[in-house]
Amino acid sequence: MDERVLDRAIDTAAGALMARQPSRALGYNVMERVRETAAPAPPRYVWVSAAAGLALCAGFATLLVTRAPSGAVLLPQTLSLPIAQAAVVPEVPDMTPAAVRPPRRVAPRVAGPPTDASPIAPIETQPILLAAIDVPQLEAETTWVDPITIEPLIIEPLGASND
């Protein structure tokens, strides 16, 4: 076969395999996902958002510190009565100082100094007398050792030996 013709056939076949176009949805889908992706914020926006967050935190802290106590005293509600009758106010418990219990006394844990002042009888003491101490004397004993007599060593000649 002619080589040039084969080359053209290969080009045509390969070109036909690659002669495809992406769908229109490709670009749309990509941009949709790009919008979902948070774009990197420029540095000035980072600083602005950080300052705003800091101010918000400071505001909350100030609010928490200066806030009034939440335990409000609930007064008994009055009854709605007709105008002709006198209103009956329910009794409010008497909270005069007399009704308040005295403060509890706590005994001191450390004992104070004794208050007893009775006289103390004098103590009689005996004088200490010096006396000579009799020490028995030891008797000296002499011991004798018998003198040792050393006999002269006689060396036998070698031939007289039994070996």
Binding site: A13, R20, P22, S23, L26, V30, A39
Partner: protein, 209 residues
């Protein structure tokens, strides 16, 4: 062709001159580098323009690796979103299109390996061949017939993956061979050798048909 290029350059330079004279900036078509800078400054619409320009090339690179439209479109979408997230890593050493194609190519190869392990095979796209149907008695016409083209496509699919990838990416025509080599991270001479080997193998097989 060189004359056309020269005229394009002249037009561009004249356009720059008009910008200096205070004419509206919007009339100038921004290049990819300027769009990248705008995206980095937070302009998402600029990224939309980049997507419009290069989505076809990204899709076809994935198609060359995977062989079916659905997987290729899925990978193209992943690649473009990933490119947006990692735009700060684009250093401008290659063109934006080459960079995008390289991202899509790596994702597509990963998907192809996973599909291979699952046991699926490369599916041929349902190529519209009715335009090629021209049955005439001459040999050249027979080679351009739909039946013969389908035979060639079948042989292309039977090529080793590296040779097939090189042939199909070249046929897509979105990048030069040097740019494709850069996207695939192989030497340009290696890539050209693969295209040449693919052609030689195909001719050997088709010669026996």
């Amino acid at each position: 062709m060189p004359a056309l290029k020269a005229s394009i350059q002249r037009v561009a330079l004249r356009h720059l001159d008009t910008d200096d004279q205070g004419l509206p900036e919007q009339s100038r078509r921004m290049d990819d580098g300027e769009l990248v800078e705008q995206v980095r400054a937070g302009d998402q619409a600029a990224f939309g323009e980049l997507v419009e320009r290069h989505r076809g090339a990204v899709f076809r690179a994935a198609l060359a690796a995977l062989g079916n439209d659905a997987d290729a479109e899925d990978i193209a979408q992943e690649a473009l979103v990933l490119a947006y997230k990692r735009l700060d890593q684009f250093r401008g050493e290659a063109s934006v299109r080459t960079w995008l194609v390289s991202i899509a190519w790596r994702l597509a190869l990963s998907r192809r390996r996973r599909l291979w392990w699952k046991g699926s095979r490369m599916v041929a796209p349902a190529t519209e061949l009715h335009a090629l149907r021209d049955v005439t008695p001459s040999q050249e016409a027979r080679m351009q017939s739909a039946q013969f083209i389908q035979t060639v496509q079948r042989e292309i699919r039977r090529l080793p993956p590296k040779l097939r990838d090189a042939l199909l990416l070249t046929a897509a025509g979105d990048l030069t061979q040097d740019d494709i080599a850069a996207a695939l991270r192989v030497r340009a001479s290696t890539f050209r050798g693969r295209v040449r080997d693919a052609r030689i193998r195909l001719k050997e097989r088709l010669g026996h048909e």
